[in-house]
Symmetry: C2
Subunit: 296 residues, 2 copies
């Protein structure tokens, strides 16, 4: 490929950042503060991995990049809402996010709760707007898939499991399911969203879903490894919090070495699902490999 993964990630992040900026204009009136908090929580940082996955998978089907950027912005808003709420004192109580004060520290708790709520709403709103796709069936499918990925049977359910699992001894199987719900489903959705936008045949959608599932699992294990091995300076957030909070992770159950092997195995398996897509999927394959070598 002519463009390196690092360049592609940077370019995509800039496109998604620009889309979010345009899609969250600040109105006049007392409610302006809410929009400022929503913008603070979503703009100016983050790897935009979910947005990148949307843009890349949409690219496989020749989807208009403006439409893809709207869906990428939507999933990044959904992700940002979950971070804002996770950081709250009643949840993970984290003061730092992406190297900056978390939203409730920068504003206040009530504003952070509301900003998270409204970001979730905006994510669904964007998907349902005609500008996202001319076919209402595609729009309804995007809404449904995002809801499945992020609701009580997805991300929120995983977050609940994570909270209840603190200090408990969980099996690798339960941890795998917890992590699939908490972070895996949204990553998988991001990849599938491109196929939905592109009205891809179901066998291609399934291949992308399989890639997304494996990449998501590899990502989470790599994240747990970084929490043990990384530093706050690298991560832009507090390191070592998992062990401190008694969080159930694959690293805690399998040990460092086997966890790393598992992540590498998943990353290779993810890339293999994309064989039939040829060079167009090179960046997605490279991302799978990058998952397990990244430092932040």
């Amino acid at each position: 490929m002519s463009e390196t993964l690092a360049d592609a990630l940077k370019r995509s992040a800039a496109e998604v950042e620009h889309a979010i900026d345009i899609l969250l204009p600040v109105p006049d009136g007392l409610e302006a503060r809410l929009f400022e908090a929503m913008r603070y929580a979503t703009l100016g940082g983050g790897k935009r991995m979910r947005g990148f996955l949307v843009m890349q998978s949409a690219g496989l089907f020749g989807v208009d990049q403006n439409c893809a950027a709207r869906v990428a912005a939507s999933v990044e808003m959904l992700h940002a809402y979950s971070l804002v709420h996770d950081d709250l004192p009643a949840m993970d109580n984290d003061d730092l996010r992406r190297g900056k004060p978390s939203t409730h520290r920068q504003f206040d708790e009530a504003t952070a709760i509301l900003a998270g709520d409204a970001l979730q709403t905006r994510a669904f709103e964007l998907l349902a707007e005609p500008d996202t796709h001319s076919n209402p069936e595609a729009r309804a499918e995007l809404v449904l898939a995002l809801a499945h990925a992020s609701g009580a049977r997805g991300m929120c359910g995983g977050q609940m499991m994570d909270m209840l699992g603190e200090g408990q001894v969980l099996t690798a199987e339960v941890i795998g399911r917890l992590q699939a719900l908490k972070t895996g489903r949204l990553i998988q959705y991001s990849v599938e969203a491109g196929a939905i936008l592109g009205r891809a045949p179901s066998h291609q959608r399934h291949l992308l879903a399989a890639y997304g599932r494996d990449v998501g699992a590899a990502f989470q294990i790599a994240d747990d490894l970084l929490d043990v091995e990384g530093t706050a300076a690298d991560l832009g957030k507090t390191a070592g919090k998992d062990a401190e909070q008694g969080k159930a992770t694959m690293v805690a159950v399998l040990g460092l070495e086997r966890a790393r092997q598992q992540a590498e195995h998943l990353a290779a398996q993810a890339a293999a699902h994309l064989d039939s897509f040829g060079p167009a999927a090179d960046h997605l394959r490279a991302l799978a490999a990058f998952m397990v070598t990244r430092r932040n």
Copy 2:
């Protein structure tokens, strides 16, 4: 009409309750607690006014009542999420809701935040599911309209204005806008949802929207009057909180008498929008009148 408004409200509330019960089954696994909190927050209480509005307006167009009940359940879940988050210590800090401990008192804060989040997601998910309407355009429209009503330019924005307005002297105009956003838009959506489900022509949808706007405004003023005049036993929640918290209300600006007149005027105007619908809209007209006479 053969059935009284009170009987119609009771019958509709039972139908909506039943729909919610079926649409929120509790799964196995650690995440079961999340579903229990979601059920606690939505089942077993409330007037189900929003659900009633959906059912009644859908009835004007002969919409299948099972489909209407799904949309009614969806808007009640959306409403319930907003109450769960409003009651949190960082927001209104309310220990009582519908005569029972609020969700964060019954469970804990983290679970309440997550349950609210997942109820919002479930509300959008329901709308996007094919069982709600065979036409994907109707489903996408329902999602979009609910997002407009409940997001940063609707309910969440109104809640932000409400928080920032505490202790400030606001004009009747600003208070009117605040209340339209905070509670009015979702009530208006409930009425419009029936027209969307029924694929009603736009002039009928506009009439119902106008009814919804006026009924919503009348409801909010009546609610403020009750907060001044009611008792905790009648309300099932703490009375007198608006004044105590320095909340901006029409009663505070206009005084009791003029606020009551304004509510009565709005209720009459709401009913008048429905003239062309004939006897089929009798319950909706009766509800408008009931708004300003109810005791809780």
